[in-house]
Symmetry: C3
Subunit: 362 residues, 3 copies
């Protein structure tokens, strides 16, 4: 399987990399992240070139990382800078890979492609993590499925009423939803009105959903008091696999400024059949209430770890030893439209990248 | 590996399939069983044709089964009958496999072959499960070995004295058995007399064993009081892998009608290296005593789950990546006779079936 | 991968093989060890030739081993000597492999090569296990890595200060060590003086290390009272993978006879990617103190099971599906010298053995 290489992938959250090295596997490569004494986060190949011990089990020594096995030390450029044995000679080949790593707005971004193409300006903003008018939480979860299966999941949020009835959608809402589609009132005499639209650029796609007269989803319980809501949500896919979901919730029919919530979903391939699901959530209402914030995080964890993760893993298991969805001839529904467009776009972007690399090599 | 396809395989017990869908993998195919609101048990391919989610995690909706991921609903014929999204359009290709399933005498039977050859009259009777003069128990256990290794196990019950000394054979009996073979009395001054004979039809084989003067096996402790017994047992193999063991136990030398016990062993291939071991046991004596019945079930569970299952799995592990016993040139003993005949017969039946399918295809 | 076959491999400790058969897998072969009624330890192929059941789950019957499944009995030469069924006929092919096994000084040694080349005089001595002026402990641990990775580990003990700072090396010593290399005094005003030298024969290599003015390593805490020591240690590799480490510890600058400790490390390949690590440790000081002996054993277990085992397994995992270290072009340091020489020597010895076998076959 090919990955897009000239792209920033999320490698973790700033808070994860403190006084101990951290292991990651990204696009099939074993990587160690560590924060130096001076505060910079470094990304190196995790295999010591001497005996292939995992450097992430070693100790941070100032700006360097010490191998746990025989104590060779490596600097931020991957070169061995200290051999504690005998005369201390360091063979020229004693080096490991070094990756470009940028720390921005509380997130760590790694560049796995051609170094000269790395432009930190292209890094996705997570400005709300540092915004004092927001409260936020971050986390991650490894998922045993191809990263694009999680992107598919996020680009077709119609699954929420079936997979997340008790968290992000709201219990009992499924029937009401079906009724609204027919134009007939639901049991409670209510009707959810739904409108969807779509926007795109060269490497982004955005799906909007406007729902009026919707009972408040449980995710919002710790944040706002009213029960019946109007909810505008839009999710933007940034190629290859980073998504930003924005939600604006108002009391039904109200003209007051809405409560805003932002959820970042960064999918970083571990290999063809596994990925990291890095998530961040922030909102601008009831922000002093840390207990409420932890309840919101609990709902997000249930949604991602107990609901989305397992179904993606089950789908991958039933797809067998492939990540090529289309080769399995899935039945496609109109609601798959955005996800299918994103997959097609990514295929083009990867092909372009590979052709450019080929031309450059000639 | 080839399986016999035109045959009824046990897919479970009626009691297993109630208000929740149940997953099975049979002859390598992922299958979901569910009981509709009207009470019929349906067997469908478990992979949703949309995104390959496992249907068995979904909800029963009247006569249909709802996918847990996006809520498509499938009917008993495998066709998608409801799409809850947008205009509700259903692509013609939106269907999953449907299998013929018959519920008989408390057992569920699935037909994995050509539909027009499915004849419910050929289903093996488990009449004692519904017979009020019997008390019975059912269960199942997945075994990590080729299904024919379990059939081998059952068609050569001489293993009981070594593998089941404390359950179905009786502790300390092995020495007595060896002594009896030489015609000399055992320590206790007793001698077990044994006689064996054999019957067969085109697709069944029956091995009889008559033992006189045998100390009562522990399995019978909860059922009858006397200690020294005469035991006539016969096991019938129905191709490909269903067996019925009948035991008639009398007090030594008595002319009174014996106590009867029936044990069904249905081996259903999961794949080449795994099978389900479905078992049912019933007997006609001391039938009001539910505590005794549970003790009998406990002994059966120990025998199958703690003794037979593990040795079959160990043998499979030592056979390596094959299920072709004969290719490994096992040493065959006279006591392997029936099991070897059954394997040879099954090979012929599978070959016949494949030749017929070839002719039909031309 | 090829192994050296004409060699004695440690198969276990005498105390392990008592009244129950024991399973081992050596050079890829499944083996059962059992002690007969007359006290001899027998090594047979563990797969019953009848149905491939694991003989090690069976019962010892006098001089024979009984299969757990159908009760066939095998003698010390691997031949079936008893069939408990029917007429008791024993097919001529009813036999399993038999291996030469010698029990010497508390250890069991198996010969996996040409029987006529087996010379018990070549077995490595473990005389201290029976020496009443020593106290000793034995054990073993399976390691998920190629056996030569453990040999590498042992032939370059410079890893101790990084991997075993709290057990065999001593906490805080690493810095002192680095300082001593520069010739400057360490923080405590102390300086460890180190000298190394090397000896070899055709199939052994010995690396000596003399350290003066060294704080006593924790391993010695339960044995001697003084804190500052002089330590002479030498480790001898016997091809293919057995090592003897001898340590002589004296109080710093003292002329009194040292305390002696012997540690045997026998690495026996399970297969290309797994090995048994058999170890024995004995010492001649404070030998009446069993509680101290158990503390020493605890430190050894921590060193081998918690520290050396895992790093070897991690290195193997990062080497991927190969055991050919040199094919991965490791960076070699001067301190790898002995380990590299031992690997080269072993390659020659295996090649010689294979050429001789080829000539003999012609």
């Amino acid at each position: 399987m090919s990955f897009m290489r000239n792209s920033w992938y999320c490698a973790g959250w700033s808070t994860e990399v403190a006084d101990k090295p951290v292991h990651r596997k990204i696009l099939g490569e074993e990587i160690v992240l560590y924060r130096t004494e001076s505060g910079k986060v470094i990304a190196l190949g995790d295999k010591c070139p001497h005996r292939f011990a995992p450097l992430h089990q070693g100790r941070i020594k100032g700006e360097n990382l010490e191998c746990p096995y025989h104590g060779l030390q490596f600097g931020g450029d991957g070169k061995c800078v200290f051999n504690p044995h005998g005369e201390g000679k360091i063979p020229r080949s004693a080096k490991t890979d070094a990756f470009i790593l940028e720390e921005r707005g509380g997130a760590l971004w790694i560049w796995m492609g051609e170094p000269e193409k790395a432009d930190p300006e292209q890094i996705i903003e997570t400005e709300f993590l540092a915004d004092k008018t927001f409260v936020s939480r971050t986390g991650y979860h490894p998922v045993g499925g191809n990263y694009m299966l999680v992107v598919d999941n996020l680009l077709d949020l119609t699954h929420a009423q079936f997979l997340h009835p008790e968290t992000v959608f709201g219990k009992g809402s499924a029937d009401r939803w079906q009724v609204s589609k027919t134009g007939k009132p639901s049991e409670g005499g209510e009707e959810v009105m739904q409108e969807v639209w779509f926007e795109e650029t060269e490497d982004t796609m955005t799906a909007h959903q406007m729902m009026r007269n919707k009972p408040k989803p449980p995710l919002w319980d710790p944040i706002v008091d009213y029960e019946m809501t109007d909810l505008h949500s839009w999710i933007t896919w940034y190629a290859p696999s980073n998504l930003r979901l924005t939600l604006e919730l108002s009391e039904r029919g109200s003209n007051e400024g809405p409560a805003t919530m932002i959820v970042m979903h960064f999918l970083t391939p571990i290999d063809e059949f596994n990925c990291y699901y890095f998530f961040a959530i922030g909102w601008d209402t009831n922000i002093e209430d840390q207990e409420a914030a932890d309840r919101v995080l609990g709902i997000v964890l249930q949604t991602i770890i107990d609901e989305d993760g397992p179904i993606v893993e089950d789908c991958q298991a039933y797809m067998g030893e492939t990540s090529d969805l289309f080769s399995l001839r899935p039945v496609l529904l109109p609601t798959d439209g955005v996800a299918v467009k994103a997959r097609r776009r990514l295929e083009e972007l990867i092909q372009d990248e590979q052709e450019q690399a080929k031309v450059a090599a000639e």
